[in-house]
Amino acid sequence: MTEKEMLVDYLLRLGDNSLILGQRLAEWCGHAPILEEDLAITNIGLDLLGQSRLLLTYAGEVEGKGRDEDKLAFHRDTMAWRNFLLLEQPNGDFAKTMARQMYFDAFQYLQYEALSKSSDPQLAGIATKSIKEITYHRRHSSNWVIRLGDGTLESHDKMQTALNELWGFVHEMFDMDDVDNAMLAKGIGVDVAALRPAWDQYIEEVLAEATLSRPYVTWSVRGSREGKHSEHLGYILAEMQFLQRAYPDAKW
């Protein structure tokens, strides 16, 4: 890969994370347990969608092949997507959605904090803007984990089960491959491996307050950086891309 191709790939990883999680959260619209939560989840999804629009637009500009945000969102098949496996996992029950959200919010907060000092001014600008939103997201998901964990016997069990089920997906967030290393060397990207201790500490503080335990799960899966996804991504894309596939380049 050329340096330019690496930057495009790096931006797609960031943008795809926000887009796929945003799409997942949108599935809760009209289905959340209470009205306030319906508004909260979809607002968070909207913030993520906004981040992905900025990132994909920028990726398309760097690439210079005439692909805009819509082309990148709607005209790519599963193998070309770079989002974390964690984020494409189904919503499950409310506890599972909040576990997924807290794992990612805590990661994204640290990642974007570092990206706000990127040597790439456009990326630094996007990160600085987004971190304000992520601050609210992280507080929201953490509060729910605490509330459910330190709630009733049933909510406690459901929260612990959700945390356990998704634990095997968190490790790949902290992997560094050639693209990550090249971007780090240029001062554009972040050393995500170095973020793990701070992430662990944050999660442990929330879990302690929630009377929950750190999951003891020995399996882990990886592969999103090479486009190896779980079966779930295809279904997300089938729904998200339907209109553009059936009526290419349709406009509002």
């Binding site: 306030e36 909207l46 906004g50 803007k129 939103e133 929201h140």
Partner: protein, 162 residues
């Protein structure tokens, strides 16, 4: 009629463009207009988005274009810049007053304190009491939280700090 544009004229026209979700506020009150300058005879306007995904931004761009053309300013440049990132600290005092009169509690304190997790003391825009509680940090639009007054018992929107 095509008029000769100058900074004063453009600024006064922009003052007439309202936030589509909170129609009492102009986009100037909101701090969305970052710069107005003349490049020769051509005005150049720089705006900044509030929240990354705020759907009002597309409407605001359209409204600016329509309003300028309506006032005879046909040729101009409209740019969006995301850096420095928009903050509620840029909202004008006039904007905060209008919000309160409209029934929305304006942002309290600075963006920094809110992001560090300090709970603001929010004044009820309806009865003026400071005895209020947060219902949800997310509300009817990206920029608002839901609060309730424990004195007059009315629910209200709070324009949260970012």
């Amino acid at each position: 009629m095509v008029v000769t544009a100058d900074i004063e004229k453009v600024t006064s026209v922009l003052e007439m463009v309202k936030d589509p979700e909170i129609p009492v506020l102009s986009i100037t009150d909101m701090g969305i207009i970052r710069n107005v300058e003349m490049k020769g005879d051509r005005p150049s306007i720089t705006i900044t988005p509030t929240y990354s995904g705020c759907p009002a931004m597309d409407v605001i761009e359209e409204d600016i274009t329509i309003m300028l053309k309506l006032h005879g300013i046909e040729d101009f440049e409209l740019k969006t810049e995301i850096s420095p990132a928009w903050t509620t600290d840029w909202m004008t005092a006039e904007g905060k007053r209008k919000l309160r009169e409209f029934g929305i509690a304006p942002p309290e304190g600075t963006s920094k304190s809110a992001l560090l997790g300090h709970d603001p003391v929010v004044t009820c825009p309806l009865c003026g009491s400071k005895e209020t509680t947060v219902v949800s940090e997310f509300g009817s639009t990206a920029c608002k939280a839901q609060y309730r007054c424990t004195d007059c018992l009315e629910p209200f929107d709070y324009f949260k700090c970012v």
